[in-house]
Symmetry: C2
Subunit: 223 residues, 2 copies
Amino acid sequence: MTQAAVLQTLNDQATTILRERIISGALPPGSRVLEIELAEELGISRGTLRAALQQLSFEGLVVQKRFRSTFVASLTAQDAYEVYTMRNTLEAMAARIVAGRVTDRVRTEISQAIADMRSAAKAKNRVAVVNADYRFHRCIVDLSGHARLQAAYGLIEAQTRLFLRITSTLDYDLTGILQVHQALMEAILSGDGEGAELLARDHNTPDGARMVEMLKQMEEACS
Amino acid sequence: MTQAAVLQTLNDQATTILRERIISGALPPGSRVLEIELAEELGISRGTLRAALQQLSFEGLVVQKRFRSTFVASLTAQDAYEVYTMRNTLEAMAARIVAGRVTDRVRTEISQAIADMRSAAKAKNRVAVVNADYRFHRCIVDLSGHARLQAAYGLIEAQTRLFLRITSTLDYDLTGILQVHQALMEAILSGDGEGAELLARDHNTPDGARMVEMLKQMEEACS
DNA sequence: ATCATTTAGATTGTTGACAATTGAAATGTC
DNA sequence: GACATTTCAATTGTCAACAATCTAAATGAT
């Protein structure tokens, strides 16, 4: 436990730890979570753990059933569809807002994010491109100054990371991704809100569709 | 307490009761919430009440400060801006989705909602029109079949109701509202996703702007 | 008198024990 | 043997007491 974390409450610490475990796959999707077990392992009481689980349930990372148990969220094709469409919608909203108020700070931060993505694409480093992608959109959402948008996007971003272990098996057109984001940047910086919204809304639809298709086949194979 | 509510947990019941009190104004915006006090009044333990308050803080109806207290959310002009823009974005997303899969059920339910709004507008009943407005959009969101969209919209809808006591002092163009929603219905039922999205996105922007302006003036007057 | 320090009261964060509910194994009936 | 009924262990929901923290009044030094 770092010293900065001491300022947080036990509840918050537990939430952070469990969130990381779920996203990393240490707690696999669909697995059952026993409160006593986890509480003992984390060295906290059941009540405190329950508060953390309630938080994660709101974030969509676990599902709670009355008087039954808590389960790590499992990812169906429907979930993938929902996460990708919601993500696109929120990113489009953020792009439109930021395009409407371009400041020097907006120019420098977005340009920097694109520069990172460009070097990652040149190095053909898939993981680095994906991370740059996350930072680029997170940057735009932050710049929007819209607290509710930021909160909603945070939830969806966490759920998006749940799919990373599956998407990592797919191969991406890195330069294509870079070009699309570059176009989005230009639309935003030129103040073209409508254009930015449309670009953001559709900019990763094909990847999302591939992911949904993949999960559908996996579901059919398992049934 | 109804018989159906018995199946719910005390936590859920408390959450429902407090949500209603906040939306109705029985717990006024900005007021401090003392856990012991409220727990005793509701006849539940502090732990159970805390779970309910945590849920309401997720929903944005209360704000919790570490080791300090819980306060009913107060409504700034920024909050009004955020709630209205987010609401429009989510309604636009729902409209586009539903326009892409128009079924008989979609036709009947949306038509019914518009019929209700029409009769309310003819009777010049402002409250009834507002309620029909809520039902209309809730109907579309439900028809989308998008669980995450439904959840996000539920949060925003609750926050929208917080502004009702302020907006109720404004006078609305009831027939204008009806016409806009009728156009939105036609776009959806004709399968025009793009058109429906645009209509929904902008359909109450002027009212939102008026509200934001009103709150800004109130804030300046109070400072 | 003003400002830093101490202290006391109030309030929240945390815990361990108790009550209510569930699912399945054990039992009984046909 | 198949099916309904009855335990019972496991697990979650709820509670009341304890510890940690914050706010503000009381105290003291300059």
